[in-house]
């Protein structure tokens, strides 16, 4: 069976991992960095992803998309009050948010697909084989639309998504594999944009989720925003400058706020420096951990409510929890650790890198699916109750929250009017009494043969699969015929739209590849220029002055080519430079060998 990789598609960073002889490992890219920033930028040379795109956050904020995960499976109305914070333009089409980049608009699954493709390429380069199958993680509290959107993103990226698994449970798999833990554990997962709590029972390799809860709109991003807001206020007061008018500086502030927050996990105070626009100079401010904590206290407090609810749903109290596991970069904050420890009364685990543990767990799940790991089994739950709208706009619950998945429920439908040929069904997800207060998932029309009222009997099966995604089937009990159901998602792409986006992604793939090749060539050329210059400084005296001049000349030709748009020319000039600098490299190697041998006896060398 073809290899399956595990992918953590995060709000701020994404990772890909694989199973290496029973041990999950993340795949690092250039510069040994495993994390790919979940950022996509439109440049003059096309779309770019990850670290190079992150540089465009401040340079080109209107055309650089970050935190796209917040928009997965959402309509514009859902994110109305945070629109002001995003420098790029959001619109809506068919109930799905669209992001404007230049002349084109992209759905959040399309943007996510670009990040997934980057991870796919990285895995292919590292493993030396084509990757077409993946397990992708989502926050446990993601609803059906958000899960479906994630699956769509995988398809658009050319990946068959064999399983969507929940981030906290993925983390528990990674821990379970390492520690062979037994007992009741709580996984507290505070990431860049989402918060999850899951309570699990571990026994003989079975990971049974008892309850889960969370908030899909609460994470490190929100802390950064609070910090950035006080900087903006300070700058307005001190300089009479409204930074909101400078999107590039707003992004700079946001990034600096994030860096300050990270520093304050290790230090008690830190200094923030920000270049102001219009030549107003440098804004400097001190931020203490105490200030940060009083700023973020309410947000951290907001995570504790879901923790208590999850405990209650699991029929447990904090004292029943044997171990607590921390996941997500935001759990590095001392305040978060204190609160979690106080709530559960136990020192939380953080042996595995909280940034990587979810991807590692996804790789473990991938290995289970490919038949490699057979002793572990994850039994997860659906986070939200599933129901249908009944008379009077009330939600009638069919599958309760925290039901182990796969889960199914059957309902019988009939008609009230003679000759009625259809019954409209509205599927909902949520915990509220009234349909309008819950999340609308989809609508469909059940086809009914024209018969006297009450005679038709159509049995509809609602089945939540192991991905937490709903499937609907209908069967006419009189004839035994099954009918296929065209479900119109309330906040999702239709099958046709996904098809078209897959086609588009092939069409643009050629452009994307050339853009990517150019960026890589430029980066490599830059690195070669720097190392050659260093060699000239260190070892220039070892070769003749003419040789130095010759090398410098080829180097300046490469520097010029690097600013051009043709990756092949850049590569050719790089080869020229390597050739020209060969004498220097050889001379330096000889020199270091010679010096290494000085003072040693001949017997030691031979």
């Amino acid at each position: 069976m073809a290899r399956i990789v595990g992918i953590d598609l995060g709000t701020t960073n994404s990772l890909v991992a694989y199973m290496d002889k029973g041990t999950p490992r993340v795949i690092a890219g250039r510069h040994e960095r495993a994390m790919v920033p979940s950022v996509v930028a439109l440049t003059d040379n096309g779309l770019i992803v990850g670290d190079p795109a992150k540089e465009h956050l401040t340079r080109n904020p209107e055309r650089t998309v970050y935190s796209v995960k917040r928009f997965m499976g959402k309509g514009l109305a859902d994110v109305q009050n945070e629109l002001a914070y995003f420098p790029y333009t959001l619109t809506e089409k068919g109930g799905v948010i669209r992001i404007k980049l230049g002349e084109k608009t992209y759905s959040p699954p399309q943007i996510s697909a670009m990040i997934l493709k980057e991870l796919k390429l990285r895995a292919e380069a590292f493993l030396g084989e084509s990757i077409t199958k993946a397990v992708i993680t989502v926050p446990a509290y993601f609803n059906d639309s958000q899960r479906q959107a994630t699956k769509d993103a995988g398809m658009i990226a050319g990946l068959e998504v064999l399983r969507i698994i929940n981030e906290p449970t993925a983390a528990s798999l990674a821990y379970g594999l390492q520690e062979k833990t037994q007992g009741t554990i709580a996984v507290y997962d505070l990431g860049g944009g989402t918060f999850d709590i899951s309570i699990l029972k571990l026994k003989n390799g079975i990971f049974e989720v008892l309850a889960t809860n969370g908030d899909t709109h609460l994470g490190g991003d929100d802390f950064d925003q609070l910090i950035a807001d006080i900087f903006v206020t300070d700058i307005r007061q001190q300089y009479g400058l409204d930074l909101k008018a400078f999107p590039d500086h707003m992004q700079g502030i946001r990034l600096e706020a994030e860096r300050a927050k990270i520093r304050l996990s290790d230090e008690l105070k830190t200094t923030v420096n920000l270049e102001l626009p219009d030549g107003k100079g440098l804004f400097t401010r001190e931020l203490t951990r105490e200030q940060l904590e009083s700023l973020c206290n309410a947000l951290v407090e907001r995570t504790l409510g879901p923790c208590r609810l999850a405990l209650k749903d699991a029929g447990l109290t904090a004292a029943d929890i044997d171990e607590v596991v921390l996941v997500g970069g935001s759990t590095r904050m001392p305040l978060v650790r204190q609160r979690v420890q106080a709530l559960f009364g136990t020192q939380p685990h953080c042996e595995l890198n909280p940034d990587e543990v979810v991807a590692l767990g996804a790789a473990v799940q991938a290995d289970i699916l490919s038949g490699g790991t057979t002793d572990m089994l994850l039994l997860d739950v659906t986070p939200l109750s599933l129901g249908i709208e009944t008379m009077g706009g009330v939600m009638s619950s069919l599958i309760r929250r925290n039901t182990t998945i796969p889960a199914s429920a059957k309902e019988m439908f009939t008609t009230y009017v003679d000759g009625q040929t259809g019954v409209d069904i509205h599927i909902l997800q949520g915990e509220r009494e009234l349909a309008k207060d819950n999340r609308s998932l989809a609508r469909f029309r059940l086809k009914v043969p024209p018969l006297p009222a009450g005679v038709p009997r159509i049995e509809v099966t609602f089945l939540i699969d192991a991905n937490g995604i709903l499937n609907v089937m209908a069967k006419d009990m009189r004839t035994g015929e099954t009918q296929s159901i065209e479900v119109k998602p309330s906040y999702g792409l239709s099958d046709q739209e996904v098809e078209r986006m897959i086609e588009d992604s092939f069409k643009f793939a050629a452009d994307d590849v050339s853009a990517r090749k150019l960026i890589e060539a430029r980066l490599d050329a830059g690195a070669l220029i720097i190392t050659t210059e260093k060699s000239l400084t260190d070892g220039g005296q070892l070769i003749s002055a003419d040789e130095v001049t010759a090398i410098r000349q080829v180097l300046s030709v490469l520097a010029a080519a690097k600013d051009g748009n043709d990756p092949r020319t850049i590569r050719a000039r790089m080869a020229d430079l390597e050739q020209a600098a060969k004498s220097l490299t050889v001379a330096m190697l000889d020199d270091s060998l010679k010096r290494g041998l000085q003072g040693k006896k001949v017997s030691e060398v031979t």
Partner: protein, 239 residues
């Protein structure tokens, strides 16, 4: 929405699916969930009740530990994770069996749901939904409804409201005590049921005893649900 009726559990007997033959190799399947000859997973028959599915007799006292062990064992046998490399037909069976297993476990794990389920199997009807208070609680419940209405209409900061609240609190305690009493009575009925089944007598007397236990159980279950809903309403109001 129009034309929608509730029939959660009534179809079990309508849909009889033969499970004597392997869907794949057509050889005889003896008892368990896998074909002896081709080792393919077999769909759990829809006529199979949850007790039989777990290999348990139809008793109301269940060893939770054994139930869990069996649940994990069957999960390992059916879960879709282990069918990724199998045919579409096997994947569909795996999904259906897993969903059924999860429902069965959820039902048997909880004593109340277990009793309601057994009642449904034995007496062949869905549970009664009580809309009026049980006779012995009639006066008490009516009075409570009045107090609740009074509290809802009151100014929550007033002394009168505080008095009503503490009155409702003690009502709540009393009703919760009542609920526990009913659960104790149920436990006794569970024991009587299991004893009767264990003896396996086929006398008229035994049949009369069986019907009496089922009737008592049904009454207590519906009264308990009624009281529980009242308590939930009460808690929500004074919260």
């Amino acid at each position: 929405m129009d034309g929608h009726t509730h029939h959660h559990t009534s179809d079990r007997r309508e849909l009889q699916m033969a499970r004597s033959m392997c869907w794949h190799c057509q050889s005889e399947v003896s008892g368990e969930y896998f074909c002896d000859r081709c080792v393919k997973v077999q769909p759990v028959s829809k006529e199979l009740d949850y007790f039989t599915c777990f290999g348990f007799p139809r008793r109301l006292s269940i060893d939770q530990q054994k139930l869990e062990t069996k649940f994990y064992e069957l999960s390992r046998a059916f879960h879709p994770d282990f069918y990724q490399n199998k045919s579409d037909a096997e994947q569909t069976i795996s999904l259906g069996n897993s969903a059924m297993l999860n429902t069965a476990y959820r039902t048997l794990r909880d004593p109340i749901q277990r009793a309601e389920y057994l009642l449904d199997l034995e007496a062949g009807s869905v549970k009664d939904i009580r809309t009026t208070p049980p006779a012995d609680l009639f006066e008490e419940i009516l009075e409570l409804q009045d107090t609740l209405d009074e509290f809802r209409a009151s100014d929550r900061t007033s002394d009168a409201a505080a008095a009503l609240r503490s009155q409702l609190q003690s009502e709540r305690t009393a009703l919760e005590g009542r609920q526990r009493d009913m659960e104790t009575q149920l436990q006794q009925l569970f024991g009587r049921w299991d004893g009767l089944q264990d003896r396996g007598e086929a006398t008229d007397q035994a049949r009369a005893e069986r019907d009496r236990i089922l009737k008592d159980m049904r009454d207590i279950l519906s009264n308990r649900t009624y009281v529980k809903n009242i308590v939930n309403d009460l808690v929500a109001t004074i919260a």
